[in-house]
Symmetry: C2
Subunit: 261 residues, 2 copies
C-alpha cells in the first residue's frame, strides 16, 4: 500500500514527535515507500473499481476486481497539488474528470498528511506527501493564493513539472510555475487578482484577461474552473483518444469541443 | 465549535468503544452539541474568509475577520450528503458553487467521521455527522450507488428534506428521495443505470432520459454533473438574487442561463 503520508518537513518537530511516540510506546508509523520502490510496483489497471491504491510487489490478479495487474509505471499518474488556500472547485473538478475518464490513477498530493479545509467548505485528505508520491505524468496546480510563496511547494512543482508530460495550471497556479522557472515570456490567461497583480508577482509572464485558456507545449493554462474543464478533457484526449474524452464529457453532461489542432 | 462528528450509530459498538476509552484512561470525546444548542449559536456571516465553523454562544465580533456575528439560524445552511459510493464530482461541484456564491454556510454531512474515499480518487472528511449537523436549508444528494438502500441515510434524508427549502438531487440521488417518500408520480431526469433500473428501484417515479433537469416545488433534480451546475446556480439565485448567481457563474467561467420563470 503506497497511500502513506510524509510527516511534516521540520526535522526537529518530526524528531520530537518520534521521541514522544517512543515514550508513549506507540508503534512507529510505517515508513513511506521510496519512489524507486513504487516505480517497481504493480497496480490494477484503470477499471472503475476502487482498487488502485493497493500496490503489489509482482504481477498477478488484483485482489479486489480480479483484473491482471500491470506495472505502476504503465498507468498515467495524475497528481493534483493541494495547499491551504487552494480553490476547491478547480482542484476537485479537474481531478474528478481525469478520474472519471478511467484511464489514469488520479490522486491528491500535499505537504501535509492532515485534511486541508479548502475554501472553508471542503475537507480533503491528501493521498500522498511530496516525498512518497509516485512520479507524475500529469501535474495539476489549482487556483489559490500563497502557493507561489512556499519554497517547498515551488521546489516540488519544479521537479514534478519537469518530468510530467502534461501540466494543468488554473488561475494563479501559473504563478507557481513561474516561480519554478517555467512560462517565461508566455501569455497567461488571467482574471481578478491575477490580472491585477500578476505582472508584479511574476514579471517574466504576460497576463491576458481576454484569454480563457492557453496551451504552450506541455502546459495547459486555464483562466478559471470552466476553462479547466476543457484542459482536463484535452489531457484525456491526448492520453487515450478523442472518443474517450467525448464520452467522458457526455457522461458528465459537460459541453466540450476539442481544440482545433 | 460545532465541527464534531457523531460516533457510528451502532449502539453496542459505541458502548464498547466508550468502555475501551475508560479502560485506557483516554479522555472522553467532546459531546456533539445538540441541534437545539446549535440553533441558538452565533456565527460569522458569509464573508469569504475561513471562519464559519466556529460558533459563539452570543453575539459580538468574529474572532477571525472581525465582522459582526449573526444568529446561526439566519445563515442558509447547505449540507451535502456523503456516502461511500457518492460520485465525487456531483458532490464537490454543487458544494463548491454554493460556497463560492458567498451567501451560505456549506458543508458535508455523513454517517461516519472518517474520510470517505470517493471514486477511488478523493478523500473527503465529512464536517458533520447526521446527529450534530445543523438543520439544513439546502440539502444536496449527489449521484452514487447504494445510498437508497441504507435505512439510516433514507431516514436522515426524509427528515432533512421535509424541513429544507431546497433539495438538489443528482442522478440516483432521486432514488434516495423516492425511498424517503418524495417525488411520487414525478418525471425524473435519468441516464445510464438510472434510466435502465430506475423503475424497478422506485416504481412510483417516471424516468425520462431526454430531460437534463426537472424542477418540482422545492426539488431540483439534475441528470448529471453538468445539470447540477444549473441547479446550484438556481438555488443561489433564489437565495440571494440573480445578480449574485450571474456573478458566481462568471467568476467560475461557467455558462449559465437562468431558468425561464
Amino acid at each position: 500500500v503506497t497511500g502513506l503520508h510524509r510527516f511534516p518537513m521540520h526535522q526537529p518537530f518530526a524528531l520530537a514527535l518520534l521521541a514522544l511516540a517512543w515514550l508513549a510506546v506507540v508503534p512507529a508509523a510505517p515508513r513511506a515507500p521510496s519512489q524507486e520502490a513504487a516505480a517497481a510496483a504493480f497496480v490494477c489497471p484503470p477499471c472503475g473499481a476502487e482498487c488502485h491504491f493497493t500496490t503489489y510487489p509482482k504481477g498477478g490478479a488484483c485482489g479486489v476486481c480480479g483484473m491482471g495487474l500491470v506495472p505502476l509505471a504503465s498507468v498515467p499518474q495524475v497528481g493534483v497539488l493541494l495547499f491551504p488556500d487552494a480553490d476547491p472547485l478547480s482542484a476537485t473538478l479537474v481531478l474528478g474528470i481525469l478520474a472519471r475518464a478511467n484511464a489514469t490513477r488520479a490522486f491528491t498530493v500535499a505537504d501535509v498528511a492532515e485534511p486541508l479545509r479548502l475554501g472553508d467548505t471542503l475537507e480533503l485528505r491528501p493521498q500522498f506527501g511530496f516525498a512518497d508520491a509516485p512520479p507524475l505524468d500529469v501535474l495539476v496546480i489549482p487556483d489559490g493564493h500563497g502557493a507561489w510563496e512556499d519554497e517547498l511547494v515551488v521546489q516540488w512543482v519544479k521537479t514534478s513539472a519537469a518530468r510530467a508530460q502534461h501540466v494543468i495550471a488554473v488561475g494563479s497556479g501559473c504563478l507557481v510555475l513561474a516561480r519554478a522557472g517555467f512560462l517565461a515570456g508566455e501569455r497567461v490567461p488571467a482574471t481578478g487578482m491575477l490580472a491585477r497583480m500578476g505582472k508584479e508577482l511574476a514579471p517574466a509572464l504576460e497576463f491576458d484577461g481576454a484569454l480563457p485558456a492557453q496551451r504552450s507545449g506541455k502546459f495547459l493554462l486555464a483562466r478559471d474552473t470552466g476553462a479547466a474543464v476543457g484542459a482536463a478533457l484535452e489531457v484525456v484526449r491526448e492520453l487515450v483518444g478523442e472518443e474517450r474524452a467525448r464520452r467522458t464529457a457526455e457522461d458528465l453532461g459537460l459541453a466540450w469541443t476539442p481544440e482545433a489542432r
